[in-house]
Point group: C2
Chain length 329, copies 2
DNA sequence: GAAGAAGCTGAGAACGCTATCATGCTCCGC
DNA sequence: GCGGAGCATGATAGCGTTCTCAGCTTCTTC
């Protein structure tokens, strides 16, 4: 069915080896052979078979990406950044959603492995064990890192970012600041909790009961935020540790008819398209989402290119963007 | 480096053929051979080489997806739906962003082809020619369809959807209804424009100058919406044909201090997370985004499975969700 | 003019798998 | 006891590339 080098060779009246040489651009070939081979290649519509090539070259020119859910704008931005860096180098991205489930993640990584990806970028699911990261192709962890997994990792300064959010609220005079977060099994969430704790403890204002743990969906965020806001002594400000929690907190505030920022100040982690569209616009700790993917891609390409040495952990800076949801403007 | 069937065979003390049979689960093998092969396979950590398998079976168990930009929530939802349907069948999705550029799209499809994907789902870029869709693996077009490209296609009832939006505005008494749309080179946009025209013409209210053509970004949407709202005889209602245009129109309205729905009624095409978060919540024509991807996946799997017959075009229904942005509530 | 270098070519061996085939072997029924 | 069915096994031929190697021709150099 499909046309092979052999077919092209036959049509051009040369040996398979010669045709392969001109098509593969290596070794010698006379000008005459060259033009004839190219002519019959285009005439027959020859497309090199990447599978066969991958088998002998032991490189599939393919990068695996394992995220929780591509519908999460954070992961979508990461995917975009990754492919932007990697495609110009001839790589294509194999995408899989693991839905924050370690078992699905394990299976996805296995599937990518048997497809012989040249490398993979993984956002580890909560509870993922380090074994999964032991051997296999070059791998970089993104956004989170599994304890004991000796791979490159690209993350943001979570603790500092959370600290900047809390400090902002403290500076505005808040003394009861709650936090709505994803599971602390996720290293980035754990770090954000740590940053929150440290900032409050420094002022002697830490109250553990004001930390509400949700999950990885808006619904979870709503429930967790409601738990905090339903209390008689509800906090006057809330720091939400990811975009689902932010969304949930907004829903909860509306449900309880709390006006922002008058009744409740809000700072979210991770900026989104719509944060400037709501009223008031949201103050957030913005992460360089595209850069996360891009840097992960660069790390990976370097490793694929043979870079050696101990695992490298890269941390990118976050930035507090003050808008209206804390009453600072 | 990596362990092959041959290594497993050697370790188990059987021939390569026998080992291949038990690992590949075909043909005969004694129970003894079976256990020994499996034992040494797990001991050595054997992972089947999908590349080699693909070469002989002529199936990569891989589906290509070409979208404009995975950061667009619409495409992200499509990707999610597709992979949800396709992964349980053992397929993995190769993702590429073509940025609505026919040339990049062409190259992406070529790359997917040389990777020998078993099928592909493509959201054609504006201006894409039918040639690209002529031969190659099974292909389904999504959201849009290229004139003369004889492939399966999965789309929504664009004209009817646009009509329902306009009818809603008409029923509320609006007589000057503008439209902000993406390029009519995109078939779905063209159909939405057609639906808009038909609904207005039926009432004798069609004014071509109220159609403002933007592009594929928020910025374009803002500019196009502003062009409409800056006029002294500005429309009292606007129908936006995709989520970027909706976002842009919201920005333009804010810029001009127009109150929604008092000064301006708004209906968008495509529902999004944040449409219920803005004030007032947005009335939209919602599309079954996940289903688009799922149905495309099912179509594709059917074709890969050998389904024959003329190209099939599937149309999914849209649904008007009335919220507050038209003053209907 | 001989020796060597350089240019060009085809044969053929991998890569790691699937799958066919021929060859034994055991067991059954008649 | 014997033919045939059924089971088990190893050899071996691809899949479509990449790439080495040997052989041949042509050009260079002293």
């Amino acid at each position: 069915m499909t046309v092979t080098v052999r077919d092209v060779a036959r049509a051009a009246g040369v040996s398979q080896a010669t045709a392969a040489r001109v098509l593969g651009e290596y070794g010698y070939a006379s000008d005459e052979a060259r033009v004839r081979v190219h002519a019959s290649a285009t005439e027959l519509g020859y497309t090199p078979n990447g599978v066969a090539r991958a088998l002998v070259s032991r490189a599939t020119q393919t990068i695996g990406l394992v995220v929780g859910d591509i519908e999460n704008p954070f992961f979508a931005a990461v995917a975009r950044g990754l492919s932007d860096v990697v495609e110009p180098q001839g790589y294509t991205v194999l995408l899989t959603n693991a839905d924050e489930d370690p078992e699905r993640e394990r299976r996805a990584m296995l599937a990518l492995r048997s497809r012989r990806v040249d490398g993979m970028v993984v956002v580890p699911a909560p509870g993922a064990g380090r074994e999964a990261f032991r051997d296999g192709p070059p791998l970089v962890q993104l956004d989170r890192s599994v304890r004991g997994a000796a791979t490159d990792a690209v993350m943001v300064h979570n603790a500092a970012g959370a600290g900047s959010a809390v400090d902002h609220l403290l500076a505005l005079g808040h003394t009861r600041i709650g936090m709505v977060t994803d599971s602390p099994q996720i290293s980035s969430s754990a770090e954000r909790i740590a940053g929150y704790r440290r900032a409050l403890r420094a002022k002697g204002l830490l109250d553990e009961s004001l930390i509400s743990v949700g999950g990885s969906s808006q619904a979870d965020g709503l429930v967790a935020a409601r738990a905090l806001l339903d209390r008689p002594d509800r906090p006057t400000a809330i720091f939400t540790a990811n975009n689902f929690m932010t969304h949930g907190a907004l829903l909860a505030a509306r449900e309880l008819r709390l006006r922002i920022p008058r009744d409740l100040a809000l700072v979210g982690f991770d900026d989104l398209d719509w944060t400037t569209l709501v009223d008031p616009p949201l103050t957030v700790v913005s992460q360089p989402v595209g850069d996360l993917g891009r840097v992960a891609g660069e790390r990976l390409l370097a490793r694929i290119g043979g870079e050696d040495g101990p695992p490298r952990r890269v941390r990118l800076a976050t930035r507090l963007i003050v808008r209206g949801s804390c009453g600072a403007l």
